[in-house]
């Protein structure tokens, strides 16, 4: 069972790799829309990659109001 920190680290690794942002510039409480420079369509792309990575389904309404990696990781962890 992954810890919340492990989930957050995996999210940051995936985001840094896919959106070509240096990993050391990302931290748990960053606003991922701003930090990754993504719009809603790209956020859906990120959502799909996260679902595949963690083997979960994450309904997009659960992302309502979620803007930082920590909250995103909490939503994912609740479904692992």
């Amino acid at each position: 069972m992954r810890t919340l920190e492990q989930v957050m680290d995996e999210i940051l690794d995936l985001a840094a790799n896919h959106f070509t942002v240096p990993r050391n510039e990302l931290s748990y409480d960053d606003d991922f829309f701003k930090k990754l420079g993504i719009d809603s369509l790209q956020a859906l792309d990120l959502l799909t990659r996260l679902e595949q990575r963690f083997g979960v389904e994450l309904p997009d309404y659960e992302l309502q109001g979620v803007t930082d990696f920590r909250a995103l990781a909490e939503r994912i962890k609740a479904r692992i």
Binding site: F33, L41, A43, L44, L47, T48, E51, Q64
Partner: protein
């Protein structure tokens, strides 16, 4: 069939396969320009059906297959009209798009939607007209219309009901959530999963296989197993037009159109 290069879509014919490619930025929103070119396309498609065995519908845009109806155009045009004229205009648009989608749905050719990325609302409904959906693993499917106080209006629910169990139809319609391609494949919505960027190649390979079968037999089989849900499609237009007069729709459209945040496609 003569190749066609329009503002919103293009069509080419090669080796007995028609390819209809959507290419209207940002994500193939379907408004009056797309509808007019689709009407031209289905006229040509019917003429070509004697020669071609399969039709592939795809998008050349990175963003996805289609984000659905052009809500900005719908909102802008509606605001310029009195209420009675709004409903008549929407009804006319829906009847025209139903005619187009029904002709694709019942074409004697075998039809394949090769989808990737965003396949939402009217774009999802276009994919559902096809006999097969081949999806890139990064595709997402969604009916977001309830967020706007509407139901899908391009024939999506009757077609989804024709193809799938009522449970997944209710899930998609009543939650407005998007599902990924793997889930869509698991519930039987997607015929084949393709790797990232490979949906069109897989669709072409499938279309080549389809071309090996006898034309008349193929068309007969399709007629037998894929009837048009005519009554439900007609009822859908009536329900949509009735809902469209509700104040919630105008405010929902305004929220979407005037949104300046980064996530208007999220609930």
């Amino acid at each position: 069939m003569k190749d066609f290069n329009g503002q919103t879509l293009s069509c080419r014919s090669q080796g007995g396969i028609l390819e209809l490619t959507l290419h209207r930025p940002a994500c193939n929103e379907i408004g009056s320009a797309t509808l007019a070119e689709m009407e031209r396309f289905v006229d040509a498609m019917d003429d070509a059906a004697g020669e071609a065995s399969a039709l592939i519908i795809c998008s050349s845009l990175k963003t996805g297959f289609s984000a659905g109806a052009d809500l900005r155009e719908l909102y802008t045009r509606s605001r310029e009209m009195p209420v009675e004229a709004r409903t008549a205009s929407v009804r006319d648009f829906l009847q025209r798009i139903h005619r187009v989608f029904n002709r694709i749905d019942s074409s004697p050719m075998t039809t394949v939607a090769a989808v990737h990325g965003v396949t939402f609302g009217g774009g999802f409904e276009l994919a559902l007209t096809c006999d097969l959906i081949i999806a890139d693993r990064m595709a997402r499917f969604c009916f977001p219309e309830l967020r706007l106080g509407l139901i899908p209006g391009f024939g999506g629910i009757p077609r989804l009901r024709r193809d799938l169990g009522n449970g997944i139809v209710r899930d998609l319609l009543l939650t407005g959530r998007s599902i990924n391609a793997v889930r869509a494949h698991a519930v039987g919505l997607v015929s084949q999963l393709a790797g990232e960027g490979e949906a069109l190649n897989v669709a072409r390979s499938t279309a080549a296989q389809i071309g090996k079968f006898d034309r008349a037999t193929r068309a007969t089989a399709k007629r037998f197993i894929k009837p048009l849900p005519v009554e439900q499609l007609t009822e859908e237009i009536e329900i949509f037009c009735r809902l469209f007069t509700e104040p919630a729709v105008e405010s929902g459209l305004r929220r979407f159109v005037e949104s300046t945040d980064a996530h208007p496609y999220l609930p």
